[in-house]
């Protein structure tokens, strides 16, 4: 009898260990069997890239639509126009999530929450396949909805205000890129291993471009950041020199 119990125990332990991911590259899953993106991630970048903010690759831009809306916004010299973030205006999506700050993802069966440390901006993405809201006002971060295509999460976002596309003007201060209010993004997230989310980002802006285009980026996991999580970042605490006009000490 004792021997049977021991054998049963060994068999059970073997079965349990067979179901437990045995390597660090296994993809974690939520209770409903979907890939779990929860955790601390670096900002999305082209594979193998280092460096701070990610920007869209000009080489991938399709031709501009003839008679379409302007993509490049001329600088006026007015800092409120040229860099509204200096006055604590929002970055908008995707710009805020491409900067050199960690992104924390929190997921359950119904919702994925993506939070960037930059100003602690959160995107709350329903995963139940619902359609976009109708007749809502355009916003800086848009209206995201998610649905699963197998193990790939597809996030479709619409209802944007016209706003800056990315931070390319840090690279070239004369090139200030704006998306239109017809801006539409499609993100495809596939967790290919424990440390990587393949992140295909499609830009569709029919008022500016003749066709959509896609960037193939990735999120890299940083478990060492789990201990602290995101640090607080607020804009109005001590924004001493907005637009170059410094508050007296």
């Amino acid at each position: 009898m004792k021997r049977v119990v021991v054998l049963l125990f060994i068999a059970l332990a073997t079965a349990v260990s067979a179901q437990t991911p045995s390597t660090s590259t296994a993809v974690p899953r939520t209770g409903d069997g979907k890939p779990d993106f929860s955790g601390m991630w670096d900002n999305p970048k082209p594979p193998g890239a280092r460096g701070p903010a990610t920007v869209f690759d000009r080489a991938k831009f399709p031709p501009f639509k003839q008679g379409g809306e302007p993509f490049y916004e001329p600088r006026t010299g007015d800092p409120r126009h040229d860099e509204p973030r200096a006055f604590c205006m929002p970055s908008g999506f995707p710009s805020a999530f491409l900067g050199p700050y960690p992104v924390q993802m929190i997921q359950n069966a119904r919702t994925l929450v993506m939070v960037t440390e930059f100003m602690r901006v959160a995107r709350i993405i329903p995963l139940d396949g619902r359609p976009h809201q109708a007749d809502i006002e355009p916003t800086y971060y848009g209206d995201p909805v998610g649905k699963w295509e197998g193990d790939t999460l597809v996030i479709d976002t619409t209802h944007f205000k016209r706003w800056s596309l990315d931070d390319f003007y840090y690279v070239n201060p004369k090139e200030y890129r704006m998306h239109s209010d017809a801006f539409h993004t499609i993100e495809r997230l596939t967790r290919v291993d424990a440390n990587t989310i393949k992140y295909d980002f499609t830009v569709d802006d029919p008022k500016i471009f003749t066709r959509p285009w896609t960037e193939n980026w990735e999120f890299k996991r940083h478990p060492e950041w789990d201990k602290t999580g995101l640090f607080e970042m607020v804009c109005n605490e001590n924004n001493r020199c907005p637009g170059g006009q410094c508050v007296k000490q």
Partner: protein
Amino acid sequence: MKTRFFAWLSIFLFGTVAPALAHHSAIAEYDLEKPVKVSGTVTRVEWTNPHIWFYVDVKNVDGTVTNWGFSGAPPGVLQRRGISRGSLKPGDQVIVQGFRAKDGSFNGSGDTVTFPDGRRVFTAMEGLGQQR
């Protein structure tokens, strides 16, 4: 033109355009044609968002003292790199390099902070992304 050349040269050499990568673009606040390099004594550190600020008493050639203010990286970015508010304290002797505020006041981007022994601390956003 020459000034502009050296300003941009310093950007490439020292990465001092880096504040642009923090809260907003450096061009909104700092004059990249007016590089600043001062040495003096730290008088105060504000460990605040969206950028830390620290203040340095700088002795002028006429014997007067000017209290300069310099901005650094966001506290969270520094903390993740293991740099805490204790890394720079009142009384510390430092050399600070950066760019002057557009309003011409005694404020600037504190892009590079060097101690007398050569140690460099929270060089605003230097290497951010590489060093995080």
